[in-house]
């Protein structure tokens, strides 16, 4: 069934793409984003601690989660004639090479405003152990 503002309901789910994280995928994200922070590149540097945190090796860019959630939302919205308008995210657990992550969304509510119609979606990214690595909220416009 085609997704429309009318037929969407609270609790409807959106499955995003599975993404295999590797040293190569992290390196490619460095090139794609121009973010060459040694957190994502330098094993020696990552042996050290950051305040109270020791990551124990390189970690994926938090914004890689953001990019995957965006991909899920836009791939869902474009066929429905809808527009991705907002994404808020928080990283709750580092992601490392060897992890497989997947974003999902759950429709939380719908709202009609003076000039348009909006769907709020709770989003999260989980790793292969089912642990949440990122959470957030998206807002998609369904122009009337």
């Amino acid at each position: 069934m085609t997704t429309t503002f009318e037929n969407l309901g609270e609790g409807d789910t959106i499955d995003g793409p599975k993404f295999e994280v590797s040293r190569e995928s992290i390196r490619l994200f460095c090139d794609g984003s121009l973010d060459y922070n040694p957190l994502h590149l330098d094993d020696e540097y990552m042996k050290g601690s950051f305040g109270k945190t020791n990551f124990g090796g390189i970690i994926m860019h938090g914004m890689n989660n953001f990019g995957l959630i965006t991909r899920m939302i836009t791939d869902w919205a474009y066929p429905a004639g809808a527009i991705h308008r907002r994404l808020e995210t928080r990283w709750v657990k580092p992601v490392k090479p060897g992890d497989t992550i997947q974003p999902t969304g759950i429709v939380k509510s719908k709202q009609v405003t003076a000039n348009s119609r909006w769907v709020l979606i709770d989003v999260m990214v989980k790793n292969q152990a089912g642990e949440k690595v990122a959470t957030g909220e998206a807002m998609v416009e369904f122009p009337s």
Partner: protein
Amino acid sequence: MAQAEAFETDFWKHANLRKVWDDIVPGEPRKTIPYTLTRDAIELYCASVGEDHPIYFDEAYAKTTRYGGLIAPPSIHILLMFACTPADDWMRSPGTVNAGQSWSYNIPARPGDVIRLEARALDKFIKRERLFVVHDNVFFNQQGDVICSGRGWTIRPE
């Protein structure tokens, strides 16, 4: 990779020129540089997150959509944040940990756009012994239209 060749990828190189948490003044504008977004740069970013929608790659298809031509994914601001800032920008300080971001999207960025960033630290605080800075950013195209605006929370290296 032409883009990376023109860009200083060694983030240690200018580390001593960058502001540390103590030096950052909330409200003070950051130095930014205009950036011409290319189709190659969009395609490389798309490859890094597996974006494969034809609206980013297939001009004939893109012309049939509401956008009337190729666009970049909304999340292209991830690239623009680094493309529009100089090497001594504090966002590049090694060990900068991103804690989360929120972005609002107005119109898409497109290949060929000359993109300008207005950015500043908005707030800084200490929480559980960690040094936080909130950054606040707006990207504009060459017509002065807002592409997107967003805010991020970073934990600064000590």
